[in-house]
Point group: C2
Chain length 340, copies 2
Amino acid sequence: MNVDIKMLAKHLRLSISTVSRALRDSYEISAKTKQRVKEMAAQLNYQPNPYASSLRKNKSKTIAVVIPEITNNFFALAINGIEYISQEKKYHVLIYLTHESLLKEIEVANHLQNGRVDGVLLSLSAETNKYDHLVNLKATGIPVVFFDRICESIPGSCITTDDFEGGFAATEHLILCKCKKIAYLDLSRHLSISSKRMQGYVAALNKHNIHVDERLIMQFSNDVSANEEVITDALDSSDRPDGIFASVEKLAIASYNVCEKLKINIPEQVKIIGFSNLEISSLLNPSLSTITQPAYEIGKQAALQLLRYLEKKNMTDVHETIILKSTLIPRGSTKVTSFK
Amino acid sequence: MNVDIKMLAKHLRLSISTVSRALRDSYEISAKTKQRVKEMAAQLNYQPNPYASSLRKNKSKTIAVVIPEITNNFFALAINGIEYISQEKKYHVLIYLTHESLLKEIEVANHLQNGRVDGVLLSLSAETNKYDHLVNLKATGIPVVFFDRICESIPGSCITTDDFEGGFAATEHLILCKCKKIAYLDLSRHLSISSKRMQGYVAALNKHNIHVDERLIMQFSNDVSANEEVITDALDSSDRPDGIFASVEKLAIASYNVCEKLKINIPEQVKIIGFSNLEISSLLNPSLSTITQPAYEIGKQAALQLLRYLEKKNMTDVHETIILKSTLIPRGSTKVTSFK
DNA sequence: CTGTTAGCGCATTCAG
DNA sequence: CTGAATGCGCTAACAG
């Protein structure tokens, strides 16, 4: 770091404050002076020190994105949307991964109290079952917008998908495919997306007068091989399910892998549907249907919502929830359905 | 932001400087005082202002990651590795996407001259064919480490894959599968990865005494539908290639899609191999072989390299290039080969 | 329209 | 071992 505002002022024989104002296009500076200043700034390749400015103004033009994982097309797409909006609005984006760990999430949330960012976009970890760290974070005055895996016990802004409808449609899809025994693969009891999707699952079963068998609702963790074991146990028996609704992508993939290993034919013996944002659907086995979320749009909406807070300080804590539509893509057909 | 070092000092009846030193574990403070200070800090939930500290020390404990896209498993995995190392070393990670645009890359590189970050990890955009912006960035004293799509005309640190060997192996794989007419699908003439992979392609053809036909070396862009058109033109003729080596994942997928559309059987009529980091290989068509890069490891190595610079200031500009091995995964077989 | 002055919160001289 | 004083680079009163 070399040329600062003081040096510019010296070169221009102007005061520091005049230069500062000219650069910020203040109304109290003459057009001529502004031009002189800007030309000199360009000539000397002046770069304003963001930290000096942040310290002074007490805002950093930076937001944090806190997500459970990144090797997941949903979150990659969401970041894409977030970054798009941020770049447009001249904001900077810090990334923090919790790897589905509550401890990490707490650590990050506590750290973010220090004012490094003006606002936070957050998607809960699968482990998260208490929210003090988030309440505390909001209490320090830092706006938090939840997306996808939202926190329903804290009032605030949320961007999410119609998980109930998605779960309902996925389950009904299997029912209409003549499945009689449909398993629900759950990532975490605590997550909003999981419980909503499960409610949709239960509602669809009820509608079609199918008994809800608790044993078919299975819990999973972040451990791939443990997950595959549970699925193997479920599938490696004569009275196995004939349909699987995976609440998240990785569980759909795990189910697929287990079927392959056990030589169970998809979709003849078992039909699988799952929430997924893989953009390479044509590469997938044509029998694996998916429910796709508008991940890019969710990222954009979340960022827009957050930045709206940050720009308009007269907004008191708004509680706006935006619910975007998911899309059912039945494989082997080109039919695409958007619901409500 | 509320409780600052001054308030801590008042509560403790100590001077500001003593508190500051105690918090930083300075050797000139007694153990007892340190403890008092730290307890009070914890009690009042003191959060040091990172921007004040950055301004004073002229470093931000922040790095930038500049990548062409994020909805690509390679970069998602790389970020995973980068974030892992950064979190471990208490660094913060800013993300900038260039969307394969040189203009965006220039914009970002110029912006990063302002000292917002201590260092930069960068993977070139497909369009990048001049490097002034990167030379300038390095000239300001900000360390830059290139990864994957490295810049060979600028001396410095690079983390990359054995692209020549990968290209060679991929091509030879097709040759050994009896392909006679192998197309090379190139993302950009400018990228190191593309040209290295192509050199491997040429070398493999030479080794097996196959004539290198320039018409089989095809250039592609970032435009998916334009790409599919080019591939369609190539495949929709009687003397079409019987093998395709895609230099990047998206071109392999595009090839696959076109084959499907044209009802060309894979692998009977056309064999496809491509660089790819999709972690769901079992879901892929079993005839689509891949070359996989150690993306997570590349991210980790790149971050480690950069942070090593940042921590040891006595290091003069080191030019270290680390080349990691890629892995060929022939589908339909469990054989996995690491080379070099 | 422009200049003077006083901090933002912290780290680091320099004195004791 | 601790305290007083200075300034990182910039913005925002408060004057003129």
